[in-house]
Symmetry: C2
Subunit: 229 residues, 2 copies
DNA sequence: ACCTGAACACCGTTCAAGT
DNA sequence: ACCTGAACACCGTTCAAGT
């Protein structure tokens, strides 16, 4: 209809959408700000108004990626019936997303963001991990399991400094929950990597997801970390 | 000593070494052929004699990466005592390598190589996976477990076409072995990714490796796939 | 506030020319 | 066989100028 296509108030959103598509076509290395500007019908300097540099765009894409994955996992949870089924569905949703948007996933787990952008990415990741936590069934009373929202540093030591009594039953319970959750994310991430790198086929990947889900749910760790509804 | 540094017969090796160092400093995106040429003291066109383009260099680096990881795993196996200890040491060696040389690892599992280069990378990966297989203890008699050396394609269906008798005991045994091995690689890969992306700390990563090793060794899958020495 | 377009430094790739 | 150096197209980034 109009002569000059769009690029009015929503250039930022257009660029991000175009970027997601470009990522699927040619990966992170093939992602060019100038090419994006061309696709959006603006001059090569225009993106600068919304992203100070290429890194800023990449960081915004990482945040967007975590949001989309969060939605996918949420849908998987919504359409599930019981702990076992839920666990399996979430696992498949996670790996499917990681395989379909491999380049986006790469940006989400690059860890190259710095400063405020890094905090935003970590926050988006934290929201996803909190959702994964909720998929593990209700947490122990008094342990809301949200200690992963804070700083990305820490040292990994979280024992022996907040209980006055050395024997207050199950002192490592939310530690197990945290471990289980991260092990889940790591395993699904890794399976996706094997598929993307063609080390295994897609159907073999699906079988691996099922095997992993079974193994994890049947483990000693699960007994301490996961609870039925 | 000499005025013009080196670059005589071994420019290819020099470029690869320089590239590994550059990868550690500035990642895959920061790797530039011209910069490498400068570091090696040759003109920017010189690398062309050894690598037809940037992709060829990246593929060569992937192969080199698999060889180095293979060596690390082999050392871990050599210095271990018993199945459990061996398993744990290999796991840590794998993750340590992946964290220290994250950018190299990225190249190893990108899956962007094409043609002959892709076959070379797959072959190098196959050698590593065969070693991982051997770390799982002796295989069943008559199943040398080397069906992962072939083409990277397949469809994932490997049942019901080579046994004349439908009930020849443990028909899925080496299937379990394959699954276990790939699940191992996937899990360690994923843990490394979480560390690199700063989603977890290094010490937390080490704890995850131990938890994963324990969970995997104690699984039903392990009972079918792994054998004591 | 947002976009244009020239300018600059850097890059990968190609190729004739040297040794 | 291996390397040089000019040439070309592309890129990210900066910035004065427009609206």
């Amino acid at each position: 209809m109009t002569d000059r296509p769009f690029h009015h108030g929503n250039l930022r959103a257009v660029l991000l959408d175009e970027a997601v598509a470009a990522l699927r076509e040619s990966g992170v290395e093939g992602l060019s700000l100038r090419e994006l500007a061309r696709r959006a019908g603006v001059s090569h300097g225009a993106p600068r108004s919304h992203f100070v540099d290429r890194r800023a765009l990449l960081d915004a894409l990482a945040v967007l990626g975590f949001e989309r994955l969060h939605d996918r996992v949420q849908q998987a949870i919504a359409g599930s019936d019981g702990l076992r089924d839920r666990f399996r569905r979430v696992a498949h949703a996670y790996v499917d997303f990681a395989v379909e948007d491999a380049a986006l996933m790469e940006l989400m787990f690059e860890g190259k963001a710095v400063g405020a952008a890094a905090a935003e990415v970590q926050a988006a990741a934290g929201t996803l991990f909190t959702l994964l936590d909720s998929a593990m069934g209700p947490a122990r009373a008094g342990t809301p399991a949200d200690q992963d929202e804070g700083a990305p540093d820490g040292g990994g030591h979280d024992d022996g400094d907040h209980e006055g009594d050395p024997r207050d039953g199950d002192p490592r319970d939310d530690g197990a929950r945290e471990t289980f959750k991260m092990l889940f994310a790591a395993t699904m991430q890794g399976i996706a990597t094997l598929v993307v790198s063609r080390r295994i086929g897609r159907t073999q990947g699906d079988e691996l997801v099922d095997a992993a889900a079974e193994t994890m749910l049947g483990s000693d760790l699960a007994r301490r970390a996961v609870s039925a509804d």
